[in-house]
């Protein structure tokens, strides 16, 4: 379908860098488009010709399995050709070499670059270096927009709405790009957001962004509609901002006892991969409240929508936003 003439298109961005710059309307438009794409994966031929002849490159400067696979499959379901580039970059070769690498790859005739990098702002830097679409697949501690979008999609799909829901994000908020992107999206869509974790990992200054900061997980359990348990990153466990694993599990782990104090229809989310027995007990991760696998399935539809929308915006506005 096309929009009636005279009406302004909602989505005109060729890049997706972060949710902070998107309007509520733009976020909802991606979610609505993703709903249409979800149906494609249920067909006998799980493929549509929308990106036929387009080339998508995965540029992952940081390890990832599921995000990379999800983007690859999303691009393939849109009939794009997908190539993989992977590199571990030393800190001395950042900047200049990232730009050069991207320009060289673009010269092969690439339409969309999916970029993951340990440095915040790397995807933004690339938008200035190349002409193709840039999709941020996670940059440093800054943003992971497609993860947040698939979380929003899953909440809306299961709960029927986002506005007015009590949502908690639990874990290492300070170092998490998933938390930052979720925060932007949830607040824009009118959820009431609580960030939970030890003071070293959940600083008070997050309150300035419009979220509530709480250090006592047990106190807020009964009021929550959605609880998103972040993965505890191994490298943090050895640092001095982190309590012992035992203490963390005792205070902030989701287990059967805590789950019993939640609303009966509470939704337990996790961006994966799960550290079973740390942030999430195995029986909760596999239980009926958990949406972990649903999130993975929805990630595909959301990424198809993002690839399609950015490519459509690029095809009409060469060099546009």
């Amino acid at each position: 379908m096309t929009r009636p003439t005279g009406e302004k298109p909602v989505w005109t961005r060729k890049h997706l860098l972060r949710l902070a710059e998107l309007s509520r309307e733009e976020i909802l438009f991606i979610l609505d488009t993703a709903e249409s794409f979800k149906e494609v994966s249920t067909r006998s031929v799980k493929k549509v010709p929308a990106l036929r002849g387009r080339v998508v490159v995965n540029m992952f400067f940081e390890e990832s399995t599921r995000t990379r696979m999800s983007f690859t499959l999303a691009a393939q379901r849109l009939s794009a050709d997908v190539i993989d580039f992977s590199a571990k970059v030393s800190s001395t070769t950042k900047g200049e070499s990232l730009r050069d690498t991207a320009r060289n790859i673009e010269a092969m005739g690439v339409d969309i670059m999916i970029v993951r990098h340990s440095a915040a702002g790397a995807p933004l830097l690339l938008t200035e270096a190349v002409d193709c679409c840039i999709i941020n697949a996670g940059d440093g501690q800054h943003a992971h927009p497609t993860q947040a979008l698939l979380d929003l999609f899953t909440i809306r799909e299961i709960k029927g709405r986002i506005e007015g829901l009590n949502v908690a994000i639990v874990g290492d908020i300070a170092h998490s790009r998933v938390a930052r992107s979720n925060l932007q999206g949830l607040l824009k869509l009118g959820a009431s957001l609580t960030l939970v974790g030890p003071p070293t990992l959940v600083p008070r200054n997050f309150e300035q962004l419009g979220a509530r900061v709480v250090h006592d997980f047990d106190a807020i359990l009964p009021e929550m509609d959605v609880i998103n348990m972040l993965r505890i990153q191994r490298e943090r466990i050895t640092s001095n901002v982190f309590p012992s694993v035992r203490e963390y599990v005792q205070l902030f782990g989701m287990n059967r006892q805590r789950h019993a104090r939640c609303k009966p229809d509470v939704l337990i989310m996790h961006p994966g991969p799960v550290n079973r027995g740390v942030e999430l007990a195995a029986d909760i991760a596999d239980g009926p409240s958990s949406s972990i696998l649903r999130q993975v399935t929805n990630g595909l539809a959301v990424r198809m929508a993002v690839l399609f929308l950015c490519q459509q915006a690029a095809s009409a506005t060469p060099g546009g936003t």
Binding site: T2, P9, E35, S36, E39, S44, V45, A313, S315, A316
Partner: protein
């Protein structure tokens, strides 16, 4: 418009095979509305279809690059297996034939119908592809620079066919 649709329903009912499940699928958006209206009319005409669905062809268009951000992807809602059905594809206006080409590709990705037939409210001619309708409400000869607008109560608040 009611009379025209009744007449189309009678034509379709006369052609329906008795030994196959019949499905009526409308192209979003006005074809979908017309398909919905044809359902009870087909029942009255003695050929109640087993299935009813809506098809969004946006992802199959051959002008995606040209329409850019004006493309809006809606849901395809076909919750039955199209394989071995006798499927009537419904649209409001048949013009270049490009939408129907896209719809045929989309349908074939869903399965293998026993047959696909094309029903359109208005055939305005000027085809660019070798596609012809099986059931036609109105045939209007038009110039390339003229426009046919089908307006439907459910979408536009009024039933009319307008020639510009």
């Amino acid at each position: 418009m009611k009379t025209t649709l009744e007449q189309m329903a009678r034509q379709i009912a006369a052609a329906v095979p008795r030994d196959r499940p019949v499905a009526v699928v409308g192209i979003r958006r006005r074809g979908e509305v017309l398909a919905g209206r044809l359902m009870p009319l087909l029942e009255q005409a003695g050929a109640p279809p087993e299935h009813h669905g809506a098809l969004d062809i946006t992802l199959y268009r051959d002008d995606l690059t040209a329409i850019g951000p004006n493309a809006v992807v809606r849901k395809t809602e076909i919750d039955f297996d199209v394989t071995d059905t006798w499927l009537v594809l419904v649209d409001d206006v048949l013009y270049t034939g490009r939408s129907v080409r896209a719809a045929l590709d989309a349908l074939i990705d869903l399965g293998r119908p026993m047959a696909i037939r094309l029903a359109v409210l208005v055939d305005r001619g000027r085809r660019e592809l070798p596609i012809q309708p099986d059931f036609v409400g109105l045939t209007i000869k038009t110039e390339a620079d003229s426009n046919i607008n089908v307006k439907l109560q459910e979408v536009d608040g009024i039933d009319e066919v307008e020639l510009e």
